[in-house]
Symmetry: C2
Subunit: 140 residues, 2 copies
């Protein structure tokens, strides 16, 4: 597994309220938005901050943090479903707890989740809609 | 405030255990380490993953999450202490909760902390030891 983070996903109580803060308040540009579900903002060369409705995020990741615990996922994206299986095996061999074995998601991707020794969640993902060009610009 | 994340800091229970997972297990390279305190790994163009002893991290950030809550900080670095003051004011104007007004840290930096609407913590920092070259390589 290469040292790389592709998405930082914050599980938020209200995407509209996140929009008011990050977009209207701080003036950050929207990359893409699914109203009430998720808001993507490109924050670095190849890196996206995702503000994701916490209930939907928890449903997809297969875990429900206790009430009041902010949920966050660091994503590591790969070029194929086979790569996802391989990296999940590498993470397990390194001592990761497997939270969710890789499955095909309704949006077309193939993702698994593991936790590091402190429980921080990593998503290992093949996302056919995601590209990064040479300049680091992301398309999702 | 520009849309940019410079550090992802995870508060960990044991830096040695994080080292066993990320360095020995996954094979990621150490950028810099202060034994038992913090371990830096460059994960992207200009982006560092920091695995930081949770007690020290909580002391510096001025907050103590409840037991069992993983603590995480997204850092936004700037070129001067004056820039830190300005961006903290911008964040407050956008509706952020100010967690810690900017202060000079023992390690020579000048940092403040705010929380977004869901409580996710951002550090706004002037760090005189931190540089990023044109290729995105970080020196801390």
């Amino acid at each position: 597994m290469e040292p790389r983070v592709d998405f930082i996903s914050l599980g938020v109580r209200s995407v509209d309220r996140s929009r008011a803060f990050y977009i209207d308040g701080l003036g950050w540009p929207v990359h893409r938005e699914v109203a009430g579900e998720v808001l993507f903002i490109q924050v670095n060369h190849g890196l996206v901050l995702s503000l994701w409705d916490a209930r939907q995020m928890q449903a997809e990741a297969g875990v429900s943090p206790p009430d009041g615990v902010p949920c966050i996922t660091l994503s590591h994206n790969l070029a194929s479903a086979g790569d996802v299986d391989r990296v999940m095996e590498e993470a397990a061999a390194a001592g990761a707890a497997i939270i969710a074995e890789p499955v095909t998601q309704p949006w077309g991707g193939y993702t698994g989740y593991f936790a590091d020794p402190d429980g921080f969640r990593w998503e290992v993902a093949y996302n056919p809609t995601w590209t990064v060009d040479d300049a680091g610009t992301v398309t999702v």
